[in-house]
Assembly symmetry: C2
C-alpha cells in the first residue's frame, strides 16, 4: 500500500516539471534564496542551504536551462559550423571528428553545450544569422576557405563584435581568432626526410588553394628543396593540384606517372589524396615505397590502412579544437585576449618512403 503510493508519486513527478517556486515553499524560504543556493552566490547560512538542497532533492528539482539562458541573456551554447556536403567527402571525416571531439571535451568541462550548424554550400547565408537568433554565445567555424565572400562575411562578424574562431585556417592580413597548426614546418620536415633518404626529384601534390594550409605546405616544401640546393620552380612537372579528395589524388596519379622519369617521390598535402595517388599508381604497376616514395599529411586513420602504411605529417586536431574552445569561451567571459595560435606538427614515419 505504502509502496504503491510511493511509486505513484514518483511517476507523477516524472511528468510534472518542478520549479523553483515549489522548492522554495517546501524549504520555507523565498525563491531568491533557492537561486542563491543553486548559483552559489552571496553568503548564506549553512542550515538554509541544506534545507534548500534537501527540498530540491526530494522534489527532484533541476533548474530550467532555457529560463536561465533567458534571464542571463546568454545561451550557454557554443556554435560549431561545419561545411556540409552530402555524399561528398572533400575533407577527411577524420579532421572533423578529431576537432569536434576536442571542442566537445573542453565545452563540457566549461559547462557549455555544443550547437552544431551544418552549412550547405549553395546557401549564401550570412554568418551573422547564427548570432542573431542568440542561440549561441560564440562560434567556431570549421572548413572555411580564404575566398572574397568568406573574408567579407567574417569581417562583418568581427565588426559586429561577435566572438568567433577559426581552426586550421589562417587569414593573412586579418586579426581573426585562430588556432592553426604549423603546416609549413611539418611539410619542411617531411621533405627534409625525403631528401635525407636520398630522394631529390620530389613532386608536390597540393590541395585546394583557398585553404591556408595548402599555401603553408607549399612553402615548407619549397624551403626544404631550396635549402638542398634545388629550385622547384625550375621543374614544372613537380607541381600538381587536387582538392583534398581521394579521387583527385587518384587522378593525379596518371599525370604523375606520365612524368615518372623526372619524379622519384611525392609529398602530398593530405592523406586522402595520397591514398588515391597510391591506388592510381598501383594500377600502373608502381608501388609506393618501392618505385616511388610518398608522404601524406594529417596522420589520419587512412594512413595506417594503406599498403604500405603511409608516412604522414601528424596534426594535433584534437588539441586544436580543445584549445580553440577554451580560448574562445574565455573571451566570452571577458577573461582572455584575442588569439592567433599555432600548434606544432610531427612526422610519423611508416613504410611508404622507407626503401632505397
Amino acid at each position: 500500500m505504502y509502496a504503491c503510493t510511493f511509486c505513484f508519486d514518483l511517476e507523477k513527478e516524472g511528468a510534472h516539471i518542478v520549479t523553483r517556486k515549489e522548492v522554495a515553499e517546501l524549504a520555507r524560504v523565498s525563491e531568491a534564496t533557492v537561486s542563491r543556493v543553486f548559483n552559489g552566490v552571496g553568503p548564506m547560512k549553512e542550515e538554509t542551504k541544506q534545507r534548500v538542497l534537501e527540498a530540491a532533492k526530494t522534489l527532484n528539482y533541476h533548474p530550467n536551462a532555457i529560463a536561465q539562458s533567458f534571464a542571463r541573456r546568454r545561451s550557454g551554447n557554443l556554435g560549431v559550423v561545419l561545411p556540409y556536403v552530402p555524399k561528398v567527402h572533400l575533407f577527411s571525416t577524420y579532421f572533423f571528428s578529431e576537432i569536434l571531439s576536442g571542442i566537445g571535451s573542453k565545452v563540457r568541462e566549461k559547462g557549455y553545450d555544443l550547437l552544431l550548424m551544418l552549412r550547405t554550400m549553395e546557401e549564401e547565408s550570412d554568418y551573422s544569422d547564427i548570432f542573431r537568433s542568440q542561440k549561441v554565445d560564440a562560434c567556431i567555424i570549421l572548413g572555411a576557405g580564404d575566398t572574397p565572400q568568406e573574408r567579407d562575411q567574417l569581417k562583418r562578424l568581427q565588426e559586429a563584435g561577435h566572438p568567433f574562431c577559426l581552426v586550421n585556417q589562417h587569414f593573412p592580413g586579418e586579426r581573426f581568432n585562430e588556432v592553426d597548426a604549423d603546416h609549413e614546418a611539418g611539410s619542411y620536415m617531411a621533405v627534409r626526410h625525403l631528401l635525407q633518404k636520398g630522394y631529390r626529384r620530389i613532386a608536390f601534390l597540393n590541395g585546394s588553394p583557398q585553404f591556408s594550409s595548402s599555401d603553408d605546405r607549399r612553402k615548407g616544401y619549397e624551403r626544404a628543396m631550396r635549402e638542398a640546393g634545388i629550385e622547384p620552380a625550375g621543374y614544372p612537372h613537380w607541381y600538381y593540384e587536387g582538392n583534398y579528395s581521394r579521387t583527385s589524388g587518384y587522378r593525379a596519379a596518371a599525370r604523375i606517372y606520365e612524368h615518372r622519369e623526372e619524379i622519384d617521390a611525392v609529398f602530398s598535402a593530405n592523406d586522402r589524396m595520397a591514398t588515391g595517388l597510391m591506388q592510381g599508381l598501383r594500377e600502373f604497376g608502381w608501388e609506393a615505397g618501392r618505385d616511388i616514395a610518398i608522404i601524406g599529411c594529417d596522420n589520419s586513420d587512412a594512413a595506417r590502412v594503406t599498403d604500405p602504411p603511409l608516412t604522414s605529417v601528424g596534426v594535433p586536431f584534437y588539441e586544436m579544437g580543445s584549445l580553440a574552445a577554451d580560448r574562445l569561451l574565455s573571451l566570452v567571459l571577458q577573461e582572455g585576449e584575442p588569439f592567433q595560435l599555432k600548434l606544432g606538427t610531427q612526422l610519423v614515419v611508416r613504410q611508404s618512403c622507407s626503401k632505397r
Copy 2:
C-alpha cells in the same frame, strides 16, 4: 556627410539588439501584432503585415530564439548523444558522420537545431539529465549497446515520457523508437555471394556482442551457410570476435592464419576490422582476393582505400539518421506514432573476393 551618418547608424545597430517592441513602435502596431506577423498566425490585414515586415527589415529585427523557447516551453533543439572515447576510435567515424549528416539535414529542414552531447564512458549519468534541463525536446541516441544498465536507463526515459530514438540498434523485448538496418539480410547476401563464388569454408569475424547488429550479422551468416548445407556450429575455428576496431581485426589475423587450412574466406562484421585483418594477413604473406576472400560491412570510405578494394555490405546510415530525426520530431509535435523501422542494405562488390 550623409553617408557617414548612415554608416554610423548601421554600426550601432550591429551592436544593439533589436526587440519586438521597437518594431511595434516603428510600425505603429502592438507587440502582439508583430508576433502574429512573424508566426503567421491569425488573420491580419495585408497592409499591416507589410508595415511590420518593413519596420523589421529597416531595424534588422530577428526574434530572440531563447525567448521564444522560453515562452513556448520548447527548446527547438534535437539532442544527439554520441559515445565519446578520446583517442580511441571504436566505431568508424564514417558511421557517425553519415548519421549525423542525415540528422542534420532533416533537423534544419524542420526548423530545429542540433545539440550535440558527447557522453564519456566512465560517467554514470542518467539519460534523464539530458531532458531535465529542458535544453532538448527529443533526443537521438547513437552508439548505445544492449547492456543491463543501458536498458534500465532507456526504460526509465521511456517511462518518464521523454521522446527518444535509437539508430542502428535494436532492443529485443522493448518498444523503443528505433531506426535500424536489415543487417541480417545484408550479411545473408554477403555470405551467399561468397558461396556462389565457390567458397565453402567461410569464417565469421564478429564485433562486440552488445550491439544488436553483431547478432543480426551472425544470424545472416548462419542462415546462408545452413541453406548451403553447412552447419557452422560444427566448425569452432570459423568464429572470431573483435570489438569493431581495426586493431581487433589485425589481431584476429594471427588466429585466423593459424587455421588457414580450414578457412578460405572471412566475412567481417565491419570494414574497420576487415582492413585490420587484411593488413595482418598480409604480414603472413596472404593477400585478400588471392589467398583468401574477405567481405566487410558498412561500405565505408575505408573499403575503397584498401588494396585490394574491399567488398562490403552497404548500410544507408545517412537515410537512417534523416528518417530517425523526421519521425522523432513528428512525435514531438504530436503528429505521428511510435516507430520501429528497418532499412535495406546492399552488397557492394569489389576485388577483395573476386579471384577464384
